[in-house]
Amino acid sequence: MSKVATMKDAVADLVRDGDTVAIEGFTHLICFAAGHEIIRQKRRDLTLCRMTPDVIYDQMIGAGVAAKLVFSWLGNPGVGSLHAIRRRVENADPGPLEIEEYSHFGMVCRYVAGASNLPFFPIRSYYESDIPTVNPRIVPIASPYDGTEVYAVPPLNPDVAIVHAQRADAGGNAQIWGLLGCQKEAAFAAKRVLVVCEEVVQESVVRADPNRTVIPGLIVDAVVEEPFACHPSYAQGYYDRDNRFYLDWEATSRDPEALAAWLKEWVFGLESHRDYVEKMGAERWDSLRPGDAPSGQVNYGEYA
């Protein structure tokens, strides 16, 4: 049973106003194309969750889709700030943005708890930090054995998780290599899962290497094939991070008018990510293509 859909249909079906949405991916496999489609479809009042709100969340929040942000590190990694988000947090400009803040491990464990149906997850963090004083959801809990104090974080169960994979079959079995971030945990924690991938492959490709499967089709609602969907982030083995874009974003993001113009040109002015890829131009994509570094094969053995 094929779950293959277009990005337009998948976002229309799976992402609703007011939803809690997690687009995960730690520097690697951040699905910008899905974020753009959410902007294009003018979703509103979303609660956006991500360990590291990246340029994509700056774009989405700059475009007005979100009422709240749940995160653990807010920045344009290696470059600077996310100014659209900062304007809303610092000056409520053009409106306030509610925030709910954790540390990295706290966010990861919220997804683990959500994926595992645990009412809380204990971690050794937050001791003598002010973070729990501004986030009352982080609370101390004593070990039932010796009273050792740890901190609990609550489960996070997004309405929708959007994860990008290098490849998936039509049933949604998705394979990822390179950095894994917390995509598996976020997907299992979510009520609905959208898998976007560079390539939809035959089921036999997935079945040849089942240990490579990070997300089983069982929990997946739709599969979208969308090459270069992570740009300016990257897909290991497919294309490099486009650092120029990240550097350029600093200036775009600082200026609300420049940001609006960017959104108009690159999101609202285009029908789909295919148009974006075309507009970006073959030269840019060529410059981001890595050389080959094959994994080698292992033998699973045929046991017949």
């Binding site: 807010l74 700030s81 963090s125 930090s129 290599w177 950095l179």
Partner: protein, 269 residues
């Protein structure tokens, strides 16, 4: 913290006519702290360059664990970030972030972690969250990321940051990551792996923490820096070790590595 927000980056050769920049001195002095080797937890920004410099100079056996989930990286180019694909290709292991934080960091496998800071107090407590009020901040900073976990779970913590009256403060606007409490007895009873920062390296000087008082203590001045200049760039009157020394200047090889291999575009140095 990003490199930019650390206040790093700058006039690489012209400063003070010494032949190296303040940031280069800070990177070199930090890298030398790693001479004992062990397992380093590498986060975003400067630590990336510091660790890779140490690996090529004082500590070839240094094991680098990247926050993003890579162990045994063998990068073919300078990583643009801790999530750079060049860190993955040719590495010995990749794991999920849950495993990285749980099985490596929280489990006590990490010998040295790094923290940057927008603000630090005399006991090494660190703010990377906000300047001003939390709810209506003057400047919204990145927040903890993994910093709070590093402060608590890495066996040693090194702090690298530029210093000034607005960053070396009497009182933090927000305590993101705990340092020393000021009461050594209390600190010993905390039962964490981490024992608070052990070293702070700035663009001006190097600091240790006093055995008895846990107070940050000026241990070395970088070449060309005066005690008065240090005093002007912090909000409290520093304790100074009796045998205040000068940091050995960067060697030609250290500068060459930074300029030609580790940060050829001068992003951070």
């Amino acid at each position: 913290m990003t490199a930019n927000e650390d206040g790093a980056g700058g006039n690489r050769t012209g400063e003070r006519g010494l032949g190296w920049s303040k940031s280069e001195m800070m990177i070199v002095a930090s890298a030398r702290q790693l001479a004992d080797g062990g397992v380093c937890f590498v986060g975003i920004g400067l630590p990336n360059i510091v660790c890779n410099l140490a690996k090529r100079t004082v500590a070839p056996q240094l094991d680098l664990v990247y926050e993003s989930g890579v162990f045994g990286a063998s990068p073919r180019r300078l990583p643009l970030s801790i999530g750079d694909p060049t860190l993955v290709s040719g590495s010995t292991a990749v794991c999920s972030m849950f495993e990285l934080f749980a099985f490596y960091l929280q489990a006590g496998l990490v010998d040295v972690g790094f923290l940057g800071a927008a603000q630090i107090d005399r006991f090494g407590n660190i703010n990377t969250t906000v300047i001003g009020d939390y709810v209506r901040p003057k400047v919204r900073l990145p927040g903890s990321g993994g910093a709070c976990e590093i402060a608590i779970n890495a066996k040693k913590v090194f702090v690298i940051m530029r210093q000034g009256r607005r960053s070396f403060v009497e009182k933090l606007d927000f305590r993101t990551s705990p340092g020393h409490s000021g009461d050594r007895e209390h600190d010993r009873r905390r039962g964490w792996w981490g024992s608070g920062p052990t070293v702070v390296v700035t663009d001006l000087a190097e600091y240790r923490f006093d055995e008895a008082t846990a107070e940050m203590t000026l241990a070395r001045l970088h070449p060309g820096v005066t005690l008065d200049e240090v005093r002007e760039n912090m909000a409290w009157e520093p304790t100074v070790v009796p045998d205040l020394a000068e940091t050995p200047p960067p060697t030609d090889e250290e500068l060459r590595l930074i300029r030609e291999e580790l940060d050829p575009q001068g992003v951070a140095s």
